[in-house]
């Protein structure tokens, strides 16, 4: 394994690991806050228990997210020192702002997790809201940095060095809006579906109102996000078409430059023969989706030098996987919404619950696939059109050693986390719908 490949693999592995915890860190606080809000409104014990249960799982996941994120901030320099040395002044800002979001998140998460009896109920809820907001903000800031790598702005190059740096313009780069929107919605969709899947499984016991409430909250959040996600994906695709035509060609398996290009579903891109075989083609579909004009010309890969092509197969497959999963999630969300509209209650039929169980990992897989599209599709560039990944890598030899070390470490952590969460799922509580906690009782338990 070459050092460059080892570095890329280590970065990809670290990000793929971190993003799961990050997505949960963005969305779980929202679920907890919703549940706690209902508790304060209704005083039903179920909601309080639910919020506490969710908080417990989140605490474990959040800690792993925090340490794996720390690894990433160092890895930017450990693996790509030339990239950071060159670009730090331009894109350091979103990372610094992210730092403040982390502070807010960590401080109020401490209060949220450990403060049930220490702060008044409203302050506790507010702490949860701050965690939810700052979690979303930290994701937004870091994705802005990634968007800059896809569509770099806010500087000029003189003699190989960046000059006239404008960090605000760099943050307002053309991909920033579509990517942050898409990622944030993805976090709610993926987490909402994952949590729904778990509670759908636990609803085997149909009469347990605990999981019914849990499912309602998680599926509402996940479902709304899943309905919005294809819309935001359309925005992303158009941003890619404008800013990274080679990536668009790769993700659609479009080799020839063509007016009225078709949309391909499935298919295997063959770089040697320059065509995508076995695909179902929808005439003019791509031109329409990418430019909202059925006759628009879409640049094919042939328009770019061979050494500027990303790995077409990986990008195309990853893209298809993400879109397919997105469609399935959207369909399921519509199914749930239809049931609710008909009967004023979430469907709880066998097939609906089974579908939810099956789709539990779908959002997370789609997130991984989406990042693969973004990252692999940008290759061979680390900064689109400006710096190649091979120019950015550290001169440090023997990079397979840290790659393997971190991989083993993360596998170990993943196993433990899954085991701890499974144990928690196994200890499923059962609370009658009628149990209420009187406000006064609540107050007396709280010691100022």
């Amino acid at each position: 394994m070459s050092d460059l490949l080892a570095a890329r693999s280590q970065m990809a592995m670290s990000l793929a690991f971190h993003i799961v915890f990050a997505a949960i860190g963005i969305a779980m606080p929202l679920l907890m806050v919703v549940s706690e809000f209902f508790y304060l409104r209704t005083r039903e014990e179920i909601y309080l228990t639910l919020a506490k249960r969710w908080a417990k799982g989140t605490a474990i996941l959040f800690a792993v997210g925090a340490v794996s994120g720390t690894v990433l901030s160092f890895e930017l320099g450990l693996l790509w020192p030339r990239f950071m040395g060159w670009a730090g002044a331009i894109i350091g800002m979103p990372f610094s702002l992210e730092g403040f979001a982390f502070f807010t998140e960590a401080i109020f998460l401490g209060i949220y997790l450990y403060g049930w009896q220490r702060v008044p109920p409203r302050a506790h809820l507010l702490a949860g809201v701050l965690v939810a907001v700052s979690g979303a903000l930290s994701g937004i800031f870091v994705v802005i940095a990634n968007a800059w790598m896809n569509s770099p702005t806010g500087f000029e190059i003189v003699g190989g060095q960046p000059v006239n740096i404008d960090p605000v313009a760099a943050m307002l780069n053309p991909m920033a809006l579509s990517q942050t929107l898409h990622m944030t919605i993805a976090a709610y969709a993926a987490t909402g579906f994952a949590v729904s899947g778990i509670h759908a499984y636990l609803l085997r016991d149909r009469t347990n109102p605990f999981h019914r409430r849990a499912l309602a909250i998680a599926l509402t959040v996940g479902g709304i996000a899943a309905l919005l996600q294809p819309l935001s994906g359309d925005l992303s695709a158009r941003a890619v078409a404008l800013n990274q035509p080679a990536k668009l060609a790769a993700l659609e398996g479009q080799f020839k430059t063509e007016a009225g290009a078709p949309l391909r579903i499935g298919g295997i891109p063959d770089e040697e023969r320059g065509e995508t075989r076995y695909a179902i083609e929808i005439p003019r579909g791509l031109s329409f989706l990418a430019f909202h004009d059925t006759r628009a010309t879409v640049k094919g890969l042939e328009a770019f030098p061979r050494d500027h092509w990303p790995n077409t197969r990986i990008v195309h497959f990853a893209f298809q996987a993400m879109v397919a999963l997105g469609m399935l999630m959207m369909g399921t969300a519509l199914w749930g919404a239809y049931g609710w509209w008909r009967r004023r209650a979430l469907p709880d039929g066998k097939w609906f619950l089974r579908t939810l169980m099956l789709l539990a990992p779908a959002g997370m897989i789609a997130i991984e696939a989406g990042w693969t599209v973004t990252e692999v599709g940008r290759q061979p560039w680390i900064i689109q059109g400006v710096m190649r990944t091979s120019e950015a890598v550290t001169p440090m030899p023997g990079l397979v050693v840290p790659f393997i070390t971190f991989t083993l470490l993360y596998i170990f952590l993943a196993v433990i986390v899954v085991w701890l969460l499974l144990r928690q799922v196994a200890a499923s509580p059962r609370i009658a719908e009628t149990e209420k906690i009187e406000p006064r009782e609540e107050e007396s338990r709280f010691v100022a």
Binding site: A66, F74, G85, G88, A89, G92, R118, A427
Partner: protein, 358 residues
């Protein structure tokens, strides 16, 4: 004062907070490992209670140091990350293991044997990580990291695998352990627990003194520029005197059981050590080839960063104050939501986890 100096100052301030707060969390791990005898369980519980709600927030100070470094001084970040790749990677492994083992232990409190295993990982990682942090800071101060045309020429081992940085590593460990012991005297009202941490503070304080002397002696050859700064500059003597006064006061107040004063003086002592080092190294970020001004990002970036730091500080400090007011000092034990997994109980122990009124 120029923009880059203010930003560099802010970076050292963040590092100081990390040492004062995050450092003590590592020190807690040291005492977790050394907890012995009949009180061991109570001591561990006290330590876990002190760290639990705050360690993640304290940890962010380190992230802030790193992002300020790469935003405001990108070439310095590139050089440090290249030359010190190995100790930084080890540091990260330590950070990952410390944080996750601590959390797993908190939420996996089923059996004693499992508890033990996480305790070991947590406490051993808490010992190794500060040593590595010290080694990293020591090698940055040593003047052994050299750069030509942006390329690191000093190799990947020599700058940090040397007596001086390693001595700094153990110095950092001793300091953090000392700090933790001093802070812990204030986290409980139990006289016995206070006494045992008081004794530990006195012992580790002595170790700090011995290691400080070792580091100072080794700096003659190990970090000549810093040594010169610490012995020849006009501010050197007053700095040594004030630091010594704080050290003596810490000991005296520990002796007298005036723990609040001890905490203040111990913190002041550590702050002065860090700032003394920073001053001695001035104007270099990485001695001898990278200075604050040569590595600084252009003014628009620095201005934006400073504005963000200022606004951030306005929001952060009240939040931190709130956090510490809720959890620090002699507060009742923090009850986690259902730490002991209730298996399918109908009346949930929402009531059971209420702590006993004082």
């Amino acid at each position: 004062m120029s923009l880059e100096l203010i930003v560099a100052g802010a970076m050292i301030v963040s590092l100081t907070f990390y040492a004062l707060l995050g450092g003590a969390d590592y020190g807690g791990g040291v005492w977790d490992l050394l907890a012995r005898g009949p009180k061991a369980k109570a001591e561990r519980a006290l330590i876990a209670d002190a760290i639990g709600p705050v360690w993640e927030a304290n940890h962010v100070w380190l992230i802030l140091v790193v992002v300020i470094l790469f935003t405001a001084f990108p070439p310095a970040f590139a050089v440090i990350a290249t030359a010190l790749h190995i100790p930084l990677t080890l540091l990260l492994i330590g950070i990952v293991l410390r944080g996750s083992a601590f959390t797993f232990r908190t939420y996996d409190a089923e059996r004693d044997s499992v508890q033990q295993r996480w305790s070991y990982i947590f406490s051993i990682a808490s010992i190794i990580t500060p040593v590595l942090l010290g080694i990293i800071l020591g090698s940055i101060a040593s003047g052994q990291i050299t750069v030509e045309n942006g390329v690191v020429t000093s190799g990947f081992l020599r700058p940090w695998l040397a007596p001086f940085p390693i001595a700094v590593g153990f110095f950092a460990l001793a300091l953090f352990a000392f700090l933790a012991a001093v802070y812990l005297t204030l986290e409980t009202r139990d006289f016995d627990l206070q006494e045992s941490f008081r004794r530990r503070a006195l012992i580790s304080g002595t170790a700090v003194g011995a290691l400080a002397l070792t580091v100072f002696l080794l700096s003659g050859t190990g970090a000549p520029k810093v040594r010169a700064g610490l012995s020849a500059s006009p501010w050197a003597l007053p700095l040594h005197i004030i630091t010594a006064l704080f050290a003596i006061t810490t000991f005296w107040s520990l002796w007298k059981r005036a723990y609040k004063l001890a905490r203040l003086c111990a913190a002041a002592q550590l702050t002065l050590i860090l700032w003394g080092w920073a001053l001695a190294q001035f104007p270099f970020i990485v001695e001898p080839d990278i200075t604050i001004s040569s590595a600084a990002a252009p003014p628009p970036t620095l201005r934006f960063l400073l504005a963000a730091l200022a606004i951030g500080a306005l929001l952060l400090f009240p939040s931190f104050y709130y956090l510490f007011r809720i959890f620090k000092g002699d507060t009742p034990p923090t009850a986690l939501p259902e730490t002991s997994d209730p298996t399918t109980s109908s009346t949930l122990n929402a009531n059971a986890d209420a702590h006993q009124p004082r």
